[in-house]
Assembly symmetry: C2
Amino acid sequence: MTICYDGTRYKGWQRLKQTRETIQDKIESVLSRYFDDAITIDGAGRTDAGVHARAQVCSFTATATDVTILLQQLNRYLPEDIVVTEVEKADERFHARFHAVSKTYVYTLWTAAYPPVFERQYVLPITPSIDLARMETCAGYLIGQHDFKGFCTDKTKKSTVRTLHHIVFEREGDVIRCKFTGDGFLYNMVRILMGTLLEVGEGKREPESVLEVFEHLDRRLAGETAPAQGLTLEAVAYESD
Amino acid sequence: MTICYDGTRYKGWQRLKQTRETIQDKIESVLSRYFDDAITIDGAGRTDAGVHARAQVCSFTATATDVTILLQQLNRYLPEDIVVTEVEKADERFHARFHAVSKTYVYTLWTAAYPPVFERQYVLPITPSIDLARMETCAGYLIGQHDFKGFCTDKTKKSTVRTLHHIVFEREGDVIRCKFTGDGFLYNMVRILMGTLLEVGEGKREPESVLEVFEHLDRRLAGETAPAQGLTLEAVAYESD
């Protein structure tokens, strides 16, 4: 299934014991009622509290059903800030997270001298004088295969090596879209990359400073974690794509 | 002043006796506090309840002040769904409504097989099978100078003759933007034009049927009033533009 959601009022994607206000919980509740069976879904990306998704992907196992009717019924019972945009039958072995080959996250930055209105839940207001050229120079050091241990808050002992395929900046009027595509993202990785890039763009650190983070693998050497506001999981790619 | 607002939770632009929930009221309150004087503003277009504006224009008279500071202070105290995007000193005789030479309203239609998420307050969901070519044919009959008495709910005895400069349809993905530009719009006129065009696009009436509305000037011959949702006052033009 492909899902679009406004993460503003949720505690993130992943089901939690202490609250029912997660995207996963909302979808599983409606799916379980539809199939009259306890359904568990696997999401491709576990978005944080407040993070949005334009095309999150999740997989689950259930009895055969008409996918068009399923899509209609899900959208009928889901809250208005969670919408299923596509339902497809997949190979039995398909797993939305394990089989994803790349993900794209987009940070939407707002640079106008006045606050956003229609976009206010979906953009991060930043200083209008941001130096995009400096951010682009820094992005050049960030892309490629690196150990991103210094750019995450994962306590994992597993590998923190990831490949960042590209970081693309698109300016459109008062908005700058920063697109991050990689084979996988560690916990808070996009937010710390964005926070670091913003400090570079504000002249608070040099573009080359990220090389030290890679060298020492030290979270304290990277920038602040940028707010979740303005961050969207844009797309998940699979081999068949 | 140029103002952008999300009209969702307001009773429209114009100040009302029975409620303080109008855009005009919110702006006048903050302006009056700033100038420490009762300020009355004149808006170029009196948008209905639920209608948005990307660039509404209003004029008012007050003592001289720094326009940059005024803009910052207004945005500091206005609610987050009303933002002042520009403040300019104008000629003493300038009146935002009387001097406007044309206005552009945009209806944003949503044609996907699933509901909108990020755009849910700003689009009007319609049937995906809408026939845009039929709507374009009908728009050809609507543009020009006509007596739009049958396309409004004004009880006015004043002239209901207006010139509709153009109606432009732009399709972008699942969205169709219908842009109406004219020298002035009567009460509910854009909503009734849109409602009529939608009935044409759905095959419920013929494109030529609008000629009868012009002939008989009878509101009952036009289509339903489309919902305010999805309607935005996009721009107001003045001679100096």
